[in-house]
Symmetry: C2
Subunit: 465 residues, 2 copies
């Protein structure tokens, strides 16, 4: 590969090769994981390329193909599985300049990959009163393309499931990495070929998403003396189809007291909290359930002062991966896991086994017709061995772990890379230049597709009878 | 009681006492049940009173109290448990003149009890793009008050649960039957005191309901060679939070061929059908699932001709109690049951045991966080004994039956009349004039509240810890 020859073919596509800036842009939030941090700290691209149009993306990919330059696509870099870390060096493809909102309709929006999610919602709310069904807690920075390439769900999953569900992404436009790069429009099941594939089999440049009705969501934080009661309340509330919620997350003590810097003054010692975003019509019934479960309202945005509204971050910036982020800011030794607890009993068991070594953080979601306890517990990290042991304790107790301390698609366990997806990489990236090292099945043709354990994205097969 | 004295106290409130008209207005759809038909055919009020304002309702109730006249409230009379049958004669209180839409807000609407549901939706759609979360199949005739007093859910329950869930009814205004009738506003849990209470403990005059976003729902009818495969498809589709549906109902062959007169030409011999209402964004993914399950599209309204759209009733008028209604029109010996099947295996078992004696009709709903098979199977009726046997066969196989061949609240099994509800009747109707004979617990103070078997409305207790 020749970076110089590659660069010469780019014409006036903006590039950046100052080593410090390139190094900075070669990072995502992989440092959430001490394991990934140790493994990936040295990684850097050699050049950052920032196309402004889809035609420029084609030119970049044609040049990469011609000169055999590895290309790692990047949105805002807010992912935390190392998905945007350029393992093979080469070019970092910054897609944030592709930020055109193409079309807003009553029930859907089409936009370019670099569009920031919050900005997109602001436009669709103003135009048609709609917003994305769900978004990560990095909503104010993350891009649409990055969310599709590396996300799975988030704020809104309590109502709408996840990105993996058919119908959650209506269409994705990718550009292939070939001698003559093509634009391909994927719809229906084909969307799953590139969703949560880290850009390994096509560069996402545009997507069409369904819109949910936008509400003036009310942020509520409630407190319980006992974490399991908090979970019981959350499960009951989550099970009511009548209650329109966007977020519902029980966090065990002392998460709020220790890590929610700007909210901690609302929380008493020993209280576990539940973070809630509720549509205005749902607030009253949620508070009725709260009273029955013996909880108390600690904060609600619809009764907050101007000063509070200015000072406090939105409740979703305490939830999902932001819970970990806030803990990390206070205590850099903290990390986390991604888990799923089949029932509340399983949550209770793990809490009893691991106690404060694993401050529990649950995200209530709906998946495949059921209310589920998705876990994002914090981990007071001591060693990689102990982390593996904690994973094993989960598995021994029939709790699923999607390991966030792995940077490949397969080992992370979020997605099963099946044959259809590998086949699509052969078509869209025949020489394997896109985000090399992230799809094990590409590098190891004998890879056993069933080797992993639990998958959030199950590939294309479950849709067959 | 003196009807003449009662009438004299009504002033200019419109009344009707022509025996044939009174008899006509003393009927609901109780004749769905041959059992109720035999028991209630002779029932008639003596006078129909049709107040035009809430003040006139108060005047009517004051006069009824003074003269000890039984009062049975009535909306459009589309209920089919005999709930609007005036067992004790007296006055039929026709509320259809109370049809003012009081207030439309972005996410809720407040209207008087006599407002027809379709008319209400038309107004809220035009004003704020919202519609009721769910409605009965009698949408074009039924009133808001009647739906709350006698309904449980319906079209939309696949997404929003049922009326019994906290938050499904925001507020109900009732008028008491006392010397000086009072207007009481019930909110929160108190709503459950009068929801599905047949007007036994207060006359509903106004209600506030949350709105769901309105879509241009697409009517789809699909066909399968095998009913259980149709159910499997329906269960899978129902379990996808990403698929925005309003209706999803598998009907076994030969229901469509024999009873769906205007749709039967679309259906091949032996095909079971699934009736679907899908938001435009959900159509494509639903059809992907359909293909995987080997089903075929028989009709879709978004590709129908003008002529078809004119000729065919909306798909919801094939579903819920309209399935029975259409069968009854063709074969007057048919009746139905209301059941719940815990799993598809249970559906399969009952179908295998009862075959064509019980042409199976399922409504997929979401209740308490789970996708459920709500059954409204047709019954080829032969005798009351055999009907009871069919009920027993269900119960012996762990399938719930909410018996629609009973006219009291308790025996129908839709609602558990608990002590709080009985207490409320004592407050709102101290002399027991409202819809006498429908609340067993009123007439029998020793009634065992736990005597019934299955309740759809569980009363107020489950909300306690």
């Amino acid at each position: 590969m020749s970076i110089a020859a590659f660069r010469a073919d780019l014409g006036d596509v903006p590039v950046e090769d100052h080593p410090r800036i390139v190094q900075q842009r070669s990072r995502d939030h992989y440092w959430y994981s001490p394991v990934l941090k140790a493994k990936l700290d040295h990684v850097s691209a050699e050049i950052v390329v920032s196309p402004r149009t889809q035609d420029e993306v084609k030119r970049v990919l044609a040049a990469a193909y011609k000169h055999k330059v590895a290309v790692t696509p990047r949105g805002a870099g807010t992912g935390n599985y190392g998905q945007a870390m350029p393992l093979a060096g080469g070019a970092m493809l910054n897609l944030m300049n592709l930020d055109r909102v193409v079309r807003i309709e009553k029930d859907r929006v089409r936009a370019e990959a670099g569009t920031v999610l919050e900005k997109l919602d602001n436009e669709t709310r103003a135009a048609v009163g709609g917003e994305l069904r769900f978004h990560p807690s990095t909503y104010r920075m993350a891009s649409l393309g990055g969310f599709i390439a590396g996300g799975s769900g988030g704020v809104g999953s309590i109502r709408w499931g996840g990105l993996r569900n058919l119908g959650s992404i209506l269409s994705v436009k990718i550009i292939t990495c070939e001698e003559g790069p093509r634009a391909l429009e994927l719809t229906g099941e084909d969307v799953l070929k590139v969703a949560h594939a880290y850009g390994t089999n096509g560069i996402i440049v545009e997507a069409e998403m369904p819109l949910a009705p936008a509400y003036d969501w009310v942020d509520i934080m409630v407190g319980f003396d006992d974490f399991i009661t908090a979970c019981r309340f959350a499960e009951t509330v989550a099970s009511q189809e009548s209650l329109l919620l966007k977020e519902l997350s029980p966090c065990a003590a002392p998460i709020a007291q220790e890590y929610f810097n700007r909210h901690k003054s609302y929380v008493r010692d020993g209280q576990s909290v539940v973070l809630i975003m509720a549509a205005p019509v749902a607030v009253e019934p949620v508070l009725i359930y709260l009273a029955h479960y013996g909880g108390e309202v600690l904060y609600r945005s619809d009764e907050a002062s101007e000063e509070e509204l200015r000072r406090l971050p939105p409740i979703y910036e305490l939830a999902w991966n932001h819970t970990t982020l806030r803990a990390l800011k206070v205590d850099p030794t903290i990390t986390y896991l991604q888990t799923r607890y089949p029932t509340l009993k399983h949550v209770e068991k793990i809490v009893s086994l691991l106690g404060d070594e694993l401050p529990m953080h649950i995200e209530m979601t709906r998946q495949d017709g059921e209310v589920t306890f998705a876990g994002l517990p914090l981990v007071r990290y001591t060693s990689e061995e102990r982390l593996e042991e904690i994973v094993r304790i989960h598995e021994d107790n029939e709790c699923l772990v999607f390991n966030p301390h792995r940077y490949t698609l397969e080992e992370g366990g979020m997605k099963r890379t099946d044959k259809a997806q590998l086949a699509f990489k052969k078509e869209a990236d025949p020489t394997g230049l896109l985000n090399p090292g992230k799809m094990v099945a590409w590098d190891d043709p004998d890879y056993d597709f069933n080797a992993g354990r639990a998958w959030l994205f199950q590939g294309l097969e479950p849709y067959a009878l």
